[in-house]
């Protein structure tokens, strides 16, 4: 025993390195556990408050662009005030409550931290559980899809940006009504990739990609991007399409968190179908 201790002491630098490195690797491997642990309450509290204060200072430099964007968004919304209602059939149902049939509820949030440099990019927002924000809510801005909420604390939430290797969004070529999967393969933060689009459809550059509405998370018809390069490898049955993101993910200011009020119901139903098989 004495010899072992003496050995460890002699090489204490190496052993301490081993311990710390393994601790770091455990943190990486158990990300999901770590996120739900007590630790995140402390870390989110500290980092959230500092980032929030800092963004309070820096956001003044973006006010002009932000205003223009919001004004444009307002015009668009005025033109389609009933779009968020799943039922507008006033003949069979007496609509006394204009909130009837609303499926999506929007919460305004401010981006207080955002990265585009990493392989897995995350965005921090200044709204959390206290404001009714939970996992698996969609995040969009006036231009298009931004990401999905992955974890929350009382006052803050982390959003998995579409610029993340774990991000998979069901997308649709709007003109053709054909579905594919939107992923990000790294590199430029302006360009995403649409895969799983069958090779027989005639896709063109300039086609719009929007959300399909099949995902329980995103509402239908939120812009994702416009097709840029179309590639079809010999022998492949699916296209690999490079597209430009609709939202400028590098200069996010104000975003909307979208809650699907039927999410639970939809998930239950899909689960039943899968169970019955």
């Amino acid at each position: 025993m004495r010899h072992i201790l003496a050995f460890i002491w002699k090489y204490n630098f190496f052993f301490l390195f081993l311990v710390l490195e393994v601790a770091a690797l455990i943190l990486i491997a158990n990300t999901s556990y770590y996120q739900s642990a007590v630790l995140n309450r402390i870390t989110y509290g500290v980092s959230g408050n500092i980032l929030n204060t800092w963004s309070g200072i820096t956001s003044y430099f973006r006010l002009r662009d932000e205003n223009l964007q919001l004004a444009a968004d307002n015009i668009r919304l005025r033109q389609q005030l009933t779009r968020n209602q799943s039922s507008t059939d006033t003949l069979s149902v007496a609509v006394t409550d204009t909130a009837t049939g609303i499926q999506y509820r929007y919460t305004l949030a401010k981006v207080i931290s955002n990265s585009t440099n990493r392989r897995d990019n995350y965005i921090m927002l200044n709204k959390g559980r206290k404001h009714g924000i939970n996992r698996d809510m969609a995040v969009i801005n006036a231009d298009g899809v931004v990401g999905t909420v992955v974890s929350t604390s009382d006052n803050f939430s982390w959003v998995m940006s579409v610029l993340n290797k774990h991000s998979k969004i069901s997308g649709r070529i709007n003109r053709l009504n054909q579905m594919g999967t939107v992923v990000w393969q790294g590199g430029s933060p302006m360009m995403g990739t649409l895969t799983d689009l069958p090779a027989h459809v005639k896709v063109k550059t300039g086609d719009t990609i929007t959300t399909s509405g099949f995902s329980h998370i995103f509402p239908e018809n939120i812009p994702i991007g416009t097709v840029r390069h179309i590639a079809l490898n010999k022998g492949d049955h699916f296209y690999t399409i490079q597209f430009n993101f609709a939202a400028d993910l590098n200069s996010l200011g104000t975003v909307y968190i979208v809650k699907n009020l039927y999410q639970h119901e939809q998930q239950e139903l899909s689960k039943q179908v899968i169970d019955e098989k």
Binding site: T43, S47, Y122, G186
Partner: protein, 170 residues
């Protein structure tokens, strides 16, 4: 000679703040993710004990991690960078005993020494960081490109900062 780590603590806080509040929020075009905070590990005095070097680097990486939701990535990379530091110092040349007041910066050791020293440690750090980040062999080329591009950028940032804050020896 008794060492006073006051400057190092101040540098720790400043570098983490600049890293997470400024550098992490700027887009450098997809492949580049500079890590200026490594300057803390580089500038720790030669006589820093091994355990202090490792543990302070652990907390350095951890601080950057909690601000960027990259749990453990920067921690692992920083601890590795700290681990290779003594070896790198031996390789590029350690000052003799009687020069104990020398610090590992451009002012004391010269540009050439500091450049090679910084290059090796930054490479070690970026190698661990970007390999763990992608964690897929199919992205090998992407990771390699990221390591090289980011190393170049990090070095530019580190050397510029070193020149700006360099104190001339009298």
């Amino acid at each position: 000679m008794k060492n006073n780590y006051g400057n190092d603590i101040l540098r720790f806080i400043l570098l983490v703040a600049i890293q997470v509040l400024v550098l992490n929020q700027i887009d450098f075009g997809g492949y580049i993710d500079p890590a200026l905070y490594l300057l803390f590990i580089l500038l720790l005095p030669f006589e820093v004990p091994g355990w202090l070097l490792l543990i302070s680097s652990f907390f350095l990486g951890f601080s950057v991690d909690i601000f960027s939701h990259s749990t453990g990535l920067h921690t692992a990379a920083s601890v590795f960078a700290a681990f290779v530091r003594p070896g790198v110092i031996n390789m590029v040349g350690k000052p003799a005993e009687y020069e104990a007041s020398l610090k590992p910066g451009i002012a004391d050791m010269g540009f050439r020494w500091f450049f090679i020293y910084a290059l090796l440690i930054v490479l070690a750090h970026h190698f661990v960081l970007f390999s763990l980040e992608a964690f897929r062999f199919e992205e090998f080329l992407y990771v390699l490109l990221r390591i090289l591009a980011s190393t170049a950028f990090t070095l530019v940032f580190i050397i510029t900062t070193e020149y700006i804050f360099m104190r001339k020896r009298h």
